[in-house]
């Protein structure tokens, strides 16, 4: 992974942690992402939007980190949504059927607006 940036935004009274990932979500990258998401969760942020627009490769470890975090956030009435999936990344979500588990958005505005609705 080359870069990971976290921005906090408020939407509909909720604090949304936007994580922008740049580079591969390989094993190392997935570990870094998991660490950051856990930190956000520990700080009480249960709504996360992960922007994968600059991720060309995601391995099974990356998929695992995202689904396990989604599960953990759901237990706390939170959620994890995905933004800007590249073709190669989308393909992995589709063949593993994980696409059914996540809300995926093509624009940040739509993604943020979706947090207005009750989870």
């Amino acid at each position: 992974m080359e870069k990971l940036e976290i921005i906090m935004k408020e939407q509909g009274g909720k604090h949304i942690g936007i994580i922008r990932v740049q580079g591969d979500l390989d094993i190392k990258g997935s570990d870094i992402l998991l660490e950051k998401m856990m930190k956000l969760g520990d700080e009480g942020n249960t709504h996360i939007l992960v922007d994968l627009g600059k991720v060309k490769f995601i391995g099974s470890s990356g998929l695992g980190v995202l689904i396990s975090t989604l599960q953990n956030l759901r237990k706390r009435n939170g959620t994890l949504k995905l933004l800007h999936l590249q073709d190669g990344v989308m393909e992995k979500f589709k063949i593993t059927k994980l696409i059914r588990e996540f809300e995926v958005y093509g624009s940040e505005e739509d993604a943020l607006r979706s947090f207005n609705s009750p989870q």
Binding site: D26, I27, K28, F57, G59, S60, S61, L63, G64, V65, I67, S68, L70, Q71, G88, K92, I95, T96, K97, L98, R100, E101
Partner: protein, 137 residues
Amino acid sequence: MVKGQELSNTIIINSRIEEIGRVLDCVKTYMERKGYIGVKYRRLIGASYEAIANAIIHGNRKDEGKRVVVTYLDAEDQFQVRVRDEGEGFDLSSVRDPRLPENITKSYGRGIFIIRKFVDGLSFNDKGNEITLTIKK
């Protein structure tokens, strides 16, 4: 048997996750030089990543003293990547479908499934410590 063998190259690495990228860069460089581009070659690299990661993590249990041997073979009608570890071997029949409701939310168990979906052929040696991934050209 592989028909019309043209080239075979072997790379040996220690069981360190950081080594995966180095191996795949070698394979990618070769592919690009030969003009092997497109979705199926990208998928083969993705499948090879999973295979090498499995060899390091599950096969050799991250024991840096153990080696992983990666061989790529460029033949007339196919391209193969073989990955061998020093572990006890893997039973392909033990792999569960990660798409099933009881498995879908698990954080593990997708590597072999992705490999299977991304290549034309997948086989193990008898011991189960060498996987061969094949794509047709």
